[in-house]
Every structure is written in structure tokens, then in C-alpha cells.
């Protein structure tokens, strides 16, 4: 139960916060309902007072007239002499009163404690209850002289409960038989009916008004919030790269202004993005054009250099050495140009994977064999630890080989002749290759920059492989086109570890997990 309630509350809070429309409509309805209620209460109470007052005045006037008539009957009878029956006179007076008023009950009660003989009996309508004339009213009536009419509000019994009513009281002087109090009880249920009708009309009108306000609020909100919604959708689309998105401009109002300025913003955004795109396209073209143009003369230079190099034994020593230098530098230049081209191809987004089912363990073995001569020369031993990875993964073998070549080359270069361990492992989602060396390592600041283009920790350090600082940048791109990751761990003096993780199936997400820890050498220490 408790739980249910919370869910509902949360849902309501969510709707309240989430929709300007709901909030506006609910607030409008609540506030207008409050106003309508206050106004209704004021109106109905003033109507009530007015109705009651006028009916009271009417009742008092009527009672006054009736009392006067009755008094006249008594007076006339007294003037005619003693022969008349006092009781009969009283009866006729009462009858006259009953006839001439709309009172429901009448009562004629002797004023107590008089020294005249009692001739007339107290008379009252059958249902007249003594409570209809309270002691205060009686006291007032008894104290009054002939012309005043006193009154009081009472509740009158009726078939269906109590009705509001008024009791009027006045004094009659029978002359011969002493003073009597005349009470008339009026039923005000007709006033109440009128009041009820007025109230129900008011209530109905109030509801209608509130509903109307609600409807108006809904319309206004639709008119205002609708375009705002459209604008919000449009900016979302714009943000997601649909630069063509625009708002319709209608009329001259604030919403049209909003739409116009939105469109202006979108225009300038689109223009700038296009400019930037053009600029970077021009730049990429430039790089790739330059590399292309360089290649033609390089081909000739390369051929010429090789021809000279092949004949160096026939040259005098200085010329022979020159041919050798020429040869190695041409090779280096060529490698750089190839890297640059590869980078510009990635920048231009013109890279296509050519995947084949490849056994990664075998690929790693081949790569290790390929760097073996270099490793031997530098005194490092390269070991392979492969608990997993013995299956065919769909990869572009050329790119993976290039990554491995670079990682192994780097490890040998910076490995200080210590052993290098290559790990391969896999799980059901991914396969990972880690190259661990125990050489110089890198500072945390270096690690940050290690994948940057042309970045090298110490450009003057003695090099055997490549040396443009593009190697890892390209490796990173090579890993990324496979949907894979290249991660690094390094500590100064402890060595470095680069870990390549590839999804087993193309297009799978890695989610930052890898079959290998970084570094993975908890169990196999050097």
C-alpha cells in the first residue's frame, strides 16, 4: 500500500515537473476554483441575508397589522358594553388573525400575574410548542406596550426535519379580561428554497466558469507551449547534427521572433560547421596531395639510391659510405611518408577494413619471429604466454600485424635489454594481446601524451626502429576501426605494458573490459 502510494506520488511529481502544460492548466483551474468559491460564498451569504431581512420585515408588518385588527375587535367589544361574551370576542379575534396572516401557528397566552379575573383560556394551534416563544421573547413582549412587535428566529418542526422560521410576539389588551400575548410562528422554508435554488445556480455557474477557465488555459498553453515544443525538438535535431532543421515562421508575434532568431542561429551554426569541414577537407587534401606528389620523385630516388647501394663495393670508401647513408635515410624517409599517408587516410575517413578469419596467436608468433633479429641485437628475449586466443577472429591481419610490429619495436627500443613478454588471452566476448616490457617506462605525464601524433618522450634517444612518433597514433586508429581498444600502463623504472583488446565479433561493444589485466603479469613474473 505504502509502496503504491509512493509510486503514484513519484509519478505525479514527474508529470508536474515534466510538463509545463499540465502545470499551467492545474494551477489555472485551482486558482480560478478558489476565486469562484470565495465569490460564491460572498454572493450566497448576502443573498441569504437580503432574502431573510425582507421576509422578516414583511412578517413583522403582517403581524403588526393582524395584532391591530385583533386589538380593534377587543376594543369595539368593550365599547359595546358588558353584555358581550369575552370568550367569543377572543375567538373571533384569533380567527381574524389566523385569516389575515400566513403564520403557520398562532398562540394567545395570558400575561401571567394580573389581578383581573381569568375569563379567556390560553389558546394555541395544535402543534404550537412552548419553545417557539422563548422566555426572552416572552419577557420582551410582556414588557412592551400595545404597538410594538418583537421577533425571534426559531427552528420549526416539519415533516422533513426542521425549517427555519420566525416567531413574532405582540401584546393585546382585552380591556375586560386583562392583557394577552399574541404569538405568530412563520415558516420560512420558502425563503430557504429560494436560497437553495440560488446557491445551486451559483455552484453550477461556478463549476462552468472553472471548466471554462481550464479550457481557456489549455488553449492558451497549446498556442504558446506548442511552438516552444516544436522549437525544442528542432534544437535537439540540430544538436544531433541535422543542420538543415529550421522552424516555420508565422506572423509577427513573439513566437515568430523566437523562430526567426532560432533559424538565424541555425544558419550561422551551419555556415561555421561547413567552413570548418571545408577547411579540414582542404587540409587533408593538402596532406594527401603532398604525399602523393612526393612519391613520384621518391620512387626515382629510391631506385637510384638502391642502384648505387648495390654497387658500393666498386666505389672508393667515402663514396661507398655515402651510398650507404643515402640508402638508410631513403628507407627512413619512405617509412615516414607511408605513416603520414596512413594518418591522412584515417583523417579523411577513407579507411576500409579487409577482414579475414585470423588466428591471433599465430599472428603474434609471426610478429615475434619478425622482430627476433632486432631483439637479439638489443639483447632482449621475447616470450609468448598465450592461455587463450586460439581461434579465428575476423580481423584485418595487416593492421593488427602493424600494431604488433610497433608495440614490439617500442618495447625492444625502450626495454633496456630486459625480457619482453607478450600475453594473448580471450573470453567469450573479446580477445586481448598485451606487450609487457621491463625497461625505462614512462612518467604519468608521458603516458598522457603517448598516443599523440609526433610525440616522443626523448627524441634524442638512440633509435633502431622508425622514429616519427606516429606509430602509436596509427596503432590507436587501427584498433579503433576494429571496434577495439589500445590501453597503456607504465611506470618509470618498472617498464610499460600496451594492451590491445578486440571484440570477437565485429560490431560488438567492449564496454571497457578486457580478458587481460593491465599489466597482466601477476602470475608470470619476469
Amino acid at each position: 500500500m505504502q509502496w503504491d502510494w509512493r509510486v503514484w506520488r513519484d509519478r505525479l511529481v514527474h508529470v508536474w515537473r515534466g510538463s509545463l502544460r499540465v502545470r499551467t492548466i492545474v494551477l489555472t483551474v485551482l486558482l480560478s476554483a478558489l476565486a469562484v468559491t470565495v465569490i460564491g460564498v460572498v454572493i450566497s451569504s448576502s443573498v441569504r441575508a437580503n432574502l431573510f431581512d425582507s421576509r422578516r420585515d414583511q412578517v413583522i408588518a403582517e403581524s403588526g397589522r393582524a395584532a391591530e385588527q385583533a386589538q380593534r375587535i377587543f376594543t369595539t367589544a368593550a365599547e359595546l358594553g358588558d353584555g358581550t361574551d369575552v370568550q367569543a370576542t377572543a375567538d373571533s379575534a384569533l380567527a381574524t388573525v389566523q385569516r389575515s396572516t400566513t403564520a403557520r401557528y398562532t398562540a394567545l397566552l395570558r400575561v401571567p400575574a394580573q389581578d383581573v379575573p381569568r375569563v379567556i383560556d390560553d389558546q394555541a394551534s395544535r402543534d404550537f410548542q412552548p419553545g417557539y416563544a422563548s422566555t426572552e421573547l416572552r419577557a420582551t413582549v410582556i414588557a412592551s406596550d400595545g404597538t410594538d412587535v418583537a421577533w425571534q428566529s426559531v427552528a420549526v418542526d416539519s415533516e422533513d426535519g426542521l425549517d427555519p422560521g420566525i416567531t413574532t410576539g405582540s401584546i393585546l389588551d382585552t380591556i375586560s379580561a386583562g392583557r394577552y400575548q399574541l404569538y405568530l410562528v412563520y415558516d420560512l422554508s420558502d425563503v430557504q428554497q429560494t436560497l437553495d435554488f440560488v446557491q445551486s445556480t451559483l455552484a453550477f455557474g461556478g463549476f462552468a466558469l472553472v471548466a471554462l477557465f481550464g479550457g481557456v488555459a489549455y488553449l492558451v498553453v497549446r498556442l504558446v507551449v506548442g511552438p516552444v515544443r516544436v522549437a525544442a525538438d528542432a534544437s535537439e535535431k540540430l544538436a544531433s547534427g541535422q543542420l538543415e532543421e529550421r522552424l516555420p515562421v508565422r506572423g509577427e508575434d513573439e513566437l515568430a521572433t523566437l523562430a526567426r532568431s532560432f533559424n538565424g542561429m541555425a544558419d550561422s551554426l551551419q555556415r561555421q560547421i561547413r567552413q570548418l569541414a571545408d577547411l579540414s577537407r582542404v587540409q587533408q587534401r593538402f596532406v594527401s596531395d603532398v604525399s602523393h606528389e612526393l612519391r613520384t620523385p621518391l620512387t626515382t630516388i629510391r631506385l637510384a639510391g638502391d642502384v648505387l647501394y648495390d654497387q658500393r663495393e666498386d666505389f672508393p670508401p667515402t663514396t661507398a659510405r655515402t651510398a650507404e647513408l643515402l640508402h638508410t635515410q631513403i628507407e627512413r624517409f619512405e617509412a615516414m611518408l607511408a605513416d603520414l599517408l596512413e594518418m591522412s587516410r584515417y583523417d579523411a575517413g577513407a579507411v576500409q577494413l579487409e577482414t579475414d578469419p585470423t588466428n591471433l596467436v599465430r599472428l603474434v608468433e609471426e610478429s615475434i619471429i619478425a622482430v627476433e633479429p632486432l631483439a637479439e641485437e638489443r639483447g632482449s628475449e621475447v616470450r609468448l604466454v598465450a592461455p587463450g586466443g586460439y581461434f579465428e577472429a575476423d580481423v584485418d591481419a595487416r593492421r593488427i600485424r602493424r600494431i604488433l610490429q610497433n608495440l614490439l619495436g617500442n618495447a625492444i627500443d625502450h626495454g633496456e635489454a630486459k625480457p619482453i613478454v607478450v600475453y594473448v588471452d580471450s573470453d567469450e566476448r573479446a580477445v586481448a594481446i598485451a606487450v609487457r616490457d621491463y625497461g625505462v617506462g614512462m612518467s604519468p605525464a608521458d603516458v598522457e601524451r603517448v598516443f599523440d601524433r609526433f610525440w616522443r618522450a626523448d627524441p634524442s634517444r638512440q633509435r633502431t626502429t622508425g622514429g616519427t612518433g606516429l606509430g602509436l597514433a596509427i596503432s590507436l586508429e587501427d584498433a579503433a576501426v576494429h571496434g577495439g581498444e589500445l590501453a597503456v600502463w607504465s611506470q618509470q623504472g618498472e617498464g610499460s605494458c600496451f594492451r590491445l583488446t578486440l571484440p570477437r565479433r565485429r560490431g560488438d561493444e567492449l564496454g571497457g573490459v578486457s580478458p587481460l589485466a593491465l599489466p597482466p603479469d601477476a602470475e608470470v613474473a619476469a
Binding site: H292, T296, T299, T300, A304, D306, V307
Partner: protein
Amino acid sequence: MNARILVVDDDPAIAEMIGIILRGEEYDPLFAADGKAAIDTFRGERPDLVLLDLMLPGMSGLEVCRTMRGESGVPIIMLTAKGEPTDVVHGLESGADDYVVKPFNPKELVARIRARLRPSLPDTTERIQIGDLEIDVAGHEVRRGDERVNLTPLEFQLLLALAAKPQQVFTREMLLEQVWGYHYKADTRLVNVHVQRLRAKVEHDPDNPRIVTTVRGVGYRAGAVT
């Protein structure tokens, strides 16, 4: 007589340099700087091999290649720029036998030329029967009944390599070594494209090959898969 090699390249320096290397290897170079000149020389001089740059002014290298292949089976080696992988495939599909990527070194170029000029054929003189085809090894000829099937020397060499050992499944690497003379990992697309071209000529239904069949995950073999 020395083999004559037509060098088609619009860059005079490269052309001259290649000429120097070819002469050093006892070949006779001929030169053409654009597509039209290349076709003219090709028709007039009937060279033994063509080195063709794909980036040519005027007529495109691919077109030149297609025209030459339409007229003869002379070995064509393309000179391509590195990193345009689709170019290689287009070139091979236009009829080139092999390719060299610029910048290349002289030994590589000479090795490629040698492999194409002196194909290593299995030394049998017999006739080999495969499916409804008959291969006349000595006569360099393939017949289906009385009809002669026109193959380029490379296609002939490829078919013969497979047919000479019908029991054996050849991996692409084995074929690259036997037919193209590569002793290291090379581009397996060479094999794929040429098997396609060969099938188009020798199979009744190239989509459902019976003579050069694919062994999934391994390579190719001659005859039905058993």
C-alpha cells in the same frame, strides 16, 4: 635476343631510371609516356612484357590495361601507388597479372619481371585431363573437345599448377609462391581475382565451378570436392 619490356610511365625520371635498371639486367626497354603512345608501341613493337603505371594522363591506366589484355596475353605488371587498395583490385580485374607498389626497389621489380617472363612450369610433357578440358603442356594449349580455350600465360600457369596435382588442395600462399614467385607473404587478392578470371573462361557455370573448386577456409583445388 633480349626480352623487350614496354615501360609506360608519364614521369620521365622514373622511366629513365627503370630503363637503366632493365638494361643492367640485359632487357631491352621501350618507353611510352601516355596511354595512346603505349597502345601504339604495344601494337607496333609487340613487347614481351609491359610495366604499366596506372596514373596516366589522357587515357586511364585501367583502360590501357583492358585494351592490351583484349589483344594479347602478354604479361602486364602494374605500377601502383601505395594505399589505394581498390586500385589494385581494379587493375587486376582489368587484366594485369601482378603489381608493384611505388616506391619499390630494383630487386623487387626485377624479381617480378623474371617471374612473369620465365614461368616455372611443372616439367611434364604429357597431356593432362581435367574435367572435360585437356591441357597440352608442351604446346601451351588448353582444349575443350575441338575448341581451343584462350588463356593468358598466367592463367595457363595457374590452371596447370592446380591440374598437375589434382589430389592436392592449394592454399593461396602456395599458389602465390608457385605461380607468382613470391617467397614471402603477399597479397592474396592476386589469387582471388585470377581464379575468378580463369573460371570465367574455363567453367560452364562460373557461379557453380567444377574445374577450379574452392575448399572453404583453405584454398583451391582442381576437380570436384570430395
